[in-house]
Amino acid sequence: MNCKEFQEVLPYIIESGGNAEEEEHLRTCPACAELVQDLRYIATQAKLLLPMHDPSPRVWTGIEQSLHQESLLREGRTSLWGHVTSIPAPAKSWTPVGWVMAALVLTAFSLVLINYHPQLPTTAPSAQNMSAQPVPLEGDDQQLMGRVSQQAPDVRRAYEDNLREVNAYITDARQAVERDPEDAVAREQLQDAYQQKQMLYEMATVRTLP
């Protein structure tokens, strides 16, 4: 079973747990497992959310008493809230706020399903995509960025971003060489990565910045 087939039966899986084949896919595919976990969480939260916005009968009684005290509710007329208070709590209808919250939850649920595209692992993890947070620049790189910031703030961001990319390139290539010192491609890649960094430094320090 692939991710597409799995998505087609997703509502049934959320509801019933799925069959053996679907369970097997769920165990082996981190992307689908994460999605199912998210959807189950949303469903749980949705169930908790609606009763939370349906106040207890005491609240309605209190409001009605206040309105009577303020003479805003005449004797002989029963307010909508008054009707509500006379209905036993389990059979009570949802409030407008409850309906709105339900609609929001359903919309959010639909959006998650519509926008879900499984991220299948196509490449091995690299230093570039391993961490979501940008790696801080250190030592010489920081000094270089200080110089660029002073002399050409317009291109500071471009240098910073590309310096990080090049550092990730060097890290990846170095790790590949360490894994297999005989790998000619990895060795050439490491050389290229260092050439890229050399170019960044030269361009920041030699001619182009006025």
Binding site: T122, T123, A124, S126, Q128, A152, D154, V155, A158, Y159, D161, N162, E165, V166, A168, Y169, D172, A173, A176, D183, A184, V185, A186, E188, Q189, D192, A193, Q195, Q196, M199, L200, M203, R207, T208, L209, P210
Partner: protein, 293 residues
């Protein structure tokens, strides 16, 4: 009826004038247009340093370098000089008294006409560079400005960019070396004894026949490499990626001897026709694709 035609005519004139005014760049009070002519030796070099604005280089006539430039601030000037032996012409944008200029004020637009055979070096920070039809060597670098080179033959073309989009077309019998960190590199009809392109994250696109018995080397860390070859291409091709995918849709004959063991999906090797040019494609985790034109 006459009134109607008259009104329509007036309306058309107003519309055309408005469109023309919108199409032209605004003329600011401090705009100054200058022209400088400098003698240069037949194999001389023109060096241009400009931060922002535009640099356009094209062929001229005679033995003079003709520089037309427009500045937008009195606090900025253009220095031009020629070495005594006329081997070197220097053109440099210079901010006076370390003034702080606005982005618009710091712009200088250059139009440079080059004598035949003279080489050109241009460095910019954000200014785009266009070189079209020159006959000497070309060396260009920019931090973020777009770089375009067209119609150059039998010359060295060396380009360096940080985040510059780079585009080369109709470069024949060239010695082409491009290093780009984040900018994409596009090549159409680029051939010669050496075509070497290296990027970190910039995509590389090559369309052409890799002719000339040359060495073509395209390498990237995480960018995609797309090569489109005609069936007549005579290439000895290898494509390898450390952890990216490699796809071949071009008919190749299997090689009897290769220096590595091809691995389906991450490397391949083969020849087409007589395999006169060496084409080497390498990535770390970027996708490589070779297809038929």
């Amino acid at each position: 009826m006459t009134r109607l035609i008259f009104a329509a005519g007036i309306g058309s004139v107003v519309a055309l004038a408005t469109a023309g005014a919108l199409a032209l760049p605004p003329v600011l009070p401090n705009d100054t247009r200058n022209e400088t002519r400098m003698e240069i030796a037949a194999d001389g070099t023109v060096n241009v340093i400009n931060s922002a604005g535009v640099v356009n280089v094209h062929p001229g006539t005679g033995r003079q370098v003709v520089v037309v430039y427009t500045t937008h601030s009195p606090n900025l000037e253009v220095d031009t000089s020629t070495s005594p032996d006329r081997q070197r012409v220097e053109i440099r944008t210079h901010v006076l008294h370390e003034q702080k200029l606005s982005p618009e004020e710091s712009r200088v637009e250059y139009d440079i006409a080059m004598p035949a055979g003279a080489s050109v070096n241009v460095s910019t920070a954000t200014a785009p560079i266009t070189v079209d039809g020159v006959s000497g060597d070309v060396e260009l670098s920019s931090n973020t400005g777009e770089i375009v080179v067209r119609n150059v033959a039998k010359a060295h073309v060396h380009i360096r960019g940080i985040a510059s989009a780079i585009s080369l077309s109709n470069i024949t019998r060239g010695h082409v070396e491009i290093t780009s960190t984040g900018g994409a590199v596009q090549m159409g009809g680029v051939t010669g004894p050496l075509v070497s392109v290296g990027t970190t994250s910039g995509n590389i696109t090559y369309k052409g026949d890799c002719s000339g018995g040359g060495e073509y080397r395209l390498t990237t860390h995480s960018g995609a490499i797309d090569v489109t070859l005609p069936p007549t291409a005579s290439v000895d091709l290898t494509a390898r990626s450390v952890s990216g995918s490699v796809v071949n849709d071009f008919p190749l004959q299997e090689k009897s001897h290769v220096s590595f063991v091809p691995k389906a999906g991450s490397s391949f090797a083969g020849t087409s026709n007589s395999g006169s040019s060496s084409v080497e494609l390498q990535s770390f985790n970027g996708r490589i694709r070779v297809k038929k034109q």
